[in-house]
């Protein structure tokens, strides 16, 4: 009885804010419901529409998968490299750790607005670094090409060159490679997702702290034993470090997948909710939100939420299955 007095607030919260909404949400997902008139039961209609009649939904699903495939490995690898560097116990470790960690505590809205400005194709700082590199590569390429042409000319292999040049044409023997202009980031459908991925790499501090904590718990005896057996740095990393920290890698992988399905604030702010350009940043959670609160298609959005839940469960289960035998749990 006393137990219920103490757990009562949660039980109440569970009934009102979880159990009831879950049931109702499932019912709505089978209905056509626009808030203004009563829900109308349409069976599996919403689910059929999602996969058969809604190209934007499929686009959102694709964008989400794209982000998962590139952003998660990249952020995990970056966090792991940073953690391993810090784990070398260099002097000033605390300073470096703070530097790498700080970006992850910047409020999301602030960091999003900042990155929008960093990724500005003309005036942003990202292209400020990329542009000179491209120019440098271009001039290097051009120099190599003219050198090659000079060699060809001196060997008499390019006798028609004066004719090309008088016509203002390039010599066809060595075509000139033109480097593309710097990325258009959020102005270019092909570069918008890489831009967002870059932003998420900046915020890896959180995972880095987790990895570092896990690395520091690897018993030194294991490394010593491996060294006696003649293992080098790579072998030690591959066969001691990675297996020992595999539980936390696995955990962050699963959390990363769940987080990608719910990726919302950044794209909402960057694209003013539009998911542009050309739907290239229309992510799952954003499309769901738009359906619910912009188009007032509550039933349709509920169906999307249930499919999301199912997909999260499937992804988690698949990861668990794949991880079995690869993840080492001490004492288990």
């Amino acid at each position: 009885m006393l137990g219920l007095v103490f757990t009562g607030p949660w039980v109440l919260g569970f009934l009102v804010f979880a159990a009831y909404p879950v049931g109702v949400s499932f019912y709505y997902s089978l209905c056509d419901y626009n808030v203004f008139s009563a829900p109308r039961f349409i069976g599996m209609g919403n689910y059929v529409e999602l996969f058969a009649e809604d190209p934007i939904y499929l686009r959102a699903l694709w964008n989400t998968v794209y982000f998962m495939v590139f952003a998660i490995p990249l952020t995990m690898a970056t966090a792991l490299v940073l953690a391993m560097l810090l784990n070398l116990n260099v002097r000033g470790q605390a300073f470096y750790r703070t530097v790498f960690f700080l970006p992850s505590i910047v409020p999301i809205v602030a960091s999003t607005v900042l990155w929008l400005w960093i990724l500005n194709p003309d005036y942003g700082v990202a292209n400020m670094f990329i542009r000179p590199v491209l120019n440098w590569l271009q001039s290097g390429c051009d120099a190599m090409r003219s050198g090659l042409l000079a060699v060809l000319g001196s060997l008499g292999l390019d006798p028609l060159r004066p004719i090309y040049e008088s016509l203002g044409l390039e010599s066809p023997f060595v075509p000139r490679y033109v480097f593309p202009p710097p990325p258009g980031w959020l102005r270019d459908p092909n570069w918008s997702k890489p831009g967002l991925i870059l932003m998420s790499v900046w915020g890896v501090g959180h995972n880095m702290v987790l990895y570092l904590a896990s690395l520091q718990e690897v018993p030194t005896e294991l490394y010593e034993a491996a060294e006696i057996d003649g293992a080098g740095t790579w072998t030690k990393t591959r066969h001691v470090t990675l297996p020992m920290i595999s539980p936390i890698l696995f955990f962050t992988l699963v959390m990363g997948m769940i987080g990608t399905f719910q990726y919302f604030t950044q794209v909402f702010i960057m694209t003013d909710g539009g998911g542009g350009p050309a739907d290239s940043t229309m992510f799952y959670a954003l499309y769901l939100f738009n359906n619910a609160f912009i188009f007032f298609r509550m039933g349709y959005a509920s169906a999307m939420a249930w499919v999301m839940f199912l997909l999260i469960l499937i992804c988690t289960a698949l990861t668990f299955r794949t991880a079995r035998g690869h993840v080492y749990y001490a004492g288990a």
Partner: protein, 350 residues
């Protein structure tokens, strides 16, 4: 132990230091860009190639007095000369009508607008605090800050009280069905918020809670599954003998909760409080769905809406971003241990 030669070790340490230093510079570039932009004059905001120094247009008024030019209109031109071919030469400005402000963006007293010789207007490196003043004033920063702090403090209070109360029921007390209920609670952690989002919105709408903070605050008083789990794990580490001894001495459960368990759990409670505060400070979707009036916006929502309305006023946006980030960084430096410990024990998102 295999001993490495001294030279090998030195090379290794130089290399790791070099890599770490390079990477930390890269990680710091966005911060630098944030601060520089917030101190830059608009006329240099979109210069190509981008500039790292906060430059602006200034007019010298005295030996060490400079006023920033915020409006610069050329009012008098040199007479247009024609060359024999009849092509107009570019006109050369002679005099400018300028609006002058001080470092805080306040118009210079008496005569903000004056006519000056055009060549008196010079470009110099000098940070301006104008965007901070504008950001804090016109943007409504003060109101939004108050709103955000109010929500955050109430949410922290509610979460700490309710979660510790419920966690007490799940750990210290023993009663039939406790563990089943606990596993039910854990299973709700799997549920993505999107599933309950729509029915919750409709519930709050029918209660007339739209455009109030109640949808953001009331749930905090009914516990959060994750924090309950965290506190329960902590409460279980409290020696059982201590609780039993208190019981023998006639302590009620309420007193055990308030006078034994709570004081012993300050570190865990601090973690819960800190992360609840951060969640409230960062929350965007909640206010976006439930808050309508601009006077009730939080900082996150206010900044996002400002961006939507004035997409190009980066100076003010960056200034507000700085103002919004500084408290979090200060908080981090004061609570570093709790911060890092909280992440480690739970792997939760900050």
């Amino acid at each position: 132990m295999v001993r490495q030669k001294r030279s090998v070790r030195t090379t290794k340490s130089v290399m790791s230091h070099g890599t770490l230093a390079t990477l930390s510079v890269i990680f710091m570039v966005p911060f630098a860009w944030l601060v520089v932009t917030s101190l830059k004059s608009e006329s240099h905001m979109s210069s190509f190639p981008p500039e790292w120094m906060p430059r602006g247009e200034y007019v010298q008024l005295g030996p060490d007095r400079w006023a920033e030019v915020v409006r610069n209109e050329i009012v008098e031109y040199a007479p247009i000369e024609y060359d024999p071919e009849g092509k107009a030469k570019p006109r050369v400005a002679l005099k400018s009508k300028v609006d002058l402000v001080d470092a805080w963006g306040t118009p210079l007293d008496r005569e903000p607008t004056r006519i000056v010789e055009s060549d008196k207007v010079v470009t110099r490196v000098r940070p301006t605090l104008r965007h901070y003043v504008k950001g804090a004033g016109a943007f409504g920063f003060k109101v939004f800050l108050q709103n955000t702090l109010f929500i955050a403090f109430v949410a922290v209070l509610g979460t700490v009280l309710s979660c510790s109360w419920v966690a007490f029921g799940f750990s210290i007390l023993q009663w039939p069905g406790r563990d089943k209920l606990f596993y039910l609670m854990l299973s709700t952690l799997m549920l993505p918020g999107q599933v309950t989002m729509i029915p919750l919105f409709l519930i709050f709408k029918s209660l007339g809670w739209i455009n109030t903070y109640l949808p953001l605050l009331v749930p905090a008083f009914l516990g959060n599954a994750f924090f309950i789990f965290l506190l329960r794990q902590f409460f279980l580490t409290i020696p059982r003998d201590l609780i039993d001894a208190a019981r023998v001495d006639g302590c009620s459960s309420l007193r055990i909760y308030w006078q034994i368990v709570m004081p012993l759990s300050i570190p865990a409670l601090a973690t819960v409080a800190l992360f609840t505060f951060l969640n409230s400070w960062n929350d965007f979707m909640g206010p976006l769905i439930y808050v309508v009036d601009e006077a009730k916006y939080t900082l996150s929502l206010g900044l996002a809406m400002f961006k939507g309305r004035f997409a190009n006023r980066y100076g003010e946006m960056m200034a507000v971003s700085v103002l919004m980030t500084i408290p979090i960084i200060v908080l981090f430096f004061f609570t570093q241990k709790t911060f890092i410990q909280g992440i480690k024990t739970s792997g939760m998102k900050g």
